[in-house]
Symmetry: C2
Subunit: 238 residues, 2 copies
């Protein structure tokens, strides 16, 4: 299967870096294809705006989603967005690898959703959840935390990790039609022993390969076809 | 009271822009002080990293939180971060004004938390929630959505807005000690009539002034004192 790992950590020597390295190694050893979007290393632009488009449909009255719809119809996203969209389209399984900062993914990964998963490319009005563009594809969140499992329990200060990841799972991934697996959580990584780290990496190897095996093969299709059918029209009505 | 509005929307003509304008006007008319951090207009840098510091304690082995602790002790944050920290320290009430994108604040606002609310400035190990640095201060989330109230109900696709805002409220604001009011939600702003918009703005005027009246006056203090007492030590142990 084809796997896209979107990796968002500033330091290659981090535990997040180790998780992505073993994932690539394990996936390739099992005959899968792994592509990594290393957002920090690639200097991915983190602010959605006019700079996302090679042209603007309406510079005077700029509306971000309208510009995205126009760019999807006319192939006028800037190169780094177009490249990420090609990767997304090709991937049977989408893996998000990031540290939990302030209860959420790093800003640069949030920005990846805002800029890459554009209106007209990843969704249009009326094509969401069960009718989402990426229906049939799988997604897997792999997150590292500073807090211990106890802190993320129902009675403790942070609450269960599923509650923390709810907006990302429900309002981003499932919104686009992805089937989202249970998250892989590496708890308290600054506080665990070398043995615990090795064990965690071994579990991740097994898990990510299992996720790739389980992912249905999707036909590489261009979701923009749906925009041509109904999206532009839907936008005009909005 | 002193109010800091952190505003994250790319378009001044947006409904978010209107909400911030009426808030400033209403607060000042009621004798409060309002400062706006307009992150898009100010070109706020959205990627946390080495560029946040005027010097680095340990360039060879860069660790972001360790660098933040060092910068807090040595006053070596870059100017835009230092300016935001001054504003945060001075504010009795913190207002966050943003559109809900992919179930969360825009990346630039996420980045504001990562870069401004730095280790050593906004928290250290052992000073969180009930012992958080900003204990005694109030925070108010004002969010605009594309979805209708029905969509954000318990039975519908997004779930209640409180569930969506949980990570921001609990793992960011309450983590630092803020007392967080119930959110002010402007639902379905692209779909409502001019009358509904006017009504929403009127309710926001009343609400934000009430929040400012209710906020206890905090002594302008430097949370870095706590770092000097225990934070650096705590960091060394980590």
């Amino acid at each position: 299967m084809r796997v896209l790992i979107v990796h968002a950590h500033p330091e290659p020597a981090s535990f997040s870096g180790a998780l992505t390295s073993v994932a690539v190694e394990a996936l390739e050893a099992s005959g899968h294809e792994a592509v990594v979007s290393d957002l920090y290393a690639e200097g991915f632009d983190a602010v959605a705006g006019r700079g996302d488009f090679t042209g603007a449909a309406n510079s005077a009255k700029f509306h971000y989603q309208a510009e995205q719809a126009h760019a999807a119809e006319t192939d006028s996203f800037v190169a780094e967005i177009a490249r990420e969209q090609e990767r997304v389209m090709a991937a049977d399984l989408l893996v998000l690898q990031f540290p939990l900062w302030w209860g959420a993914p790093p800003a640069v990964l949030k920005s990846w959703f805002e800029r890459v998963m554009a209106y007209g490319f990843a969704y249009v009005d009326g094509c969401r959840f069960d009718t989402g563009f990426f229906k049939g594809r799988r997604a897997l969140i792999s997150v590292t935390t500073g807090g211990t499992p106890k802190r993320f329990s129902d009675e403790d200060v942070y609450g269960p990790i599923e509650r923390v990841l709810y907006p990302l799972k429900r309002l981003a991934l499932e919104y686009m039609g992805y089937e989202v697996e249970a998250p892989f959580v590496s708890y308290a990584v600054p506080r665990i022993s070398d043995e615990e780290r090795a064990d965690c990496l071994a579990r991740w190897r097994t898990r990510v390969v299992a996720a790739a095996e389980a992912a249905p093969s999707v036909e590489i299709r261009d979701p923009r076809a749906a925009l041509a059918r109904m999206g532009a029209q839907a936008w005009t009505r909005a």
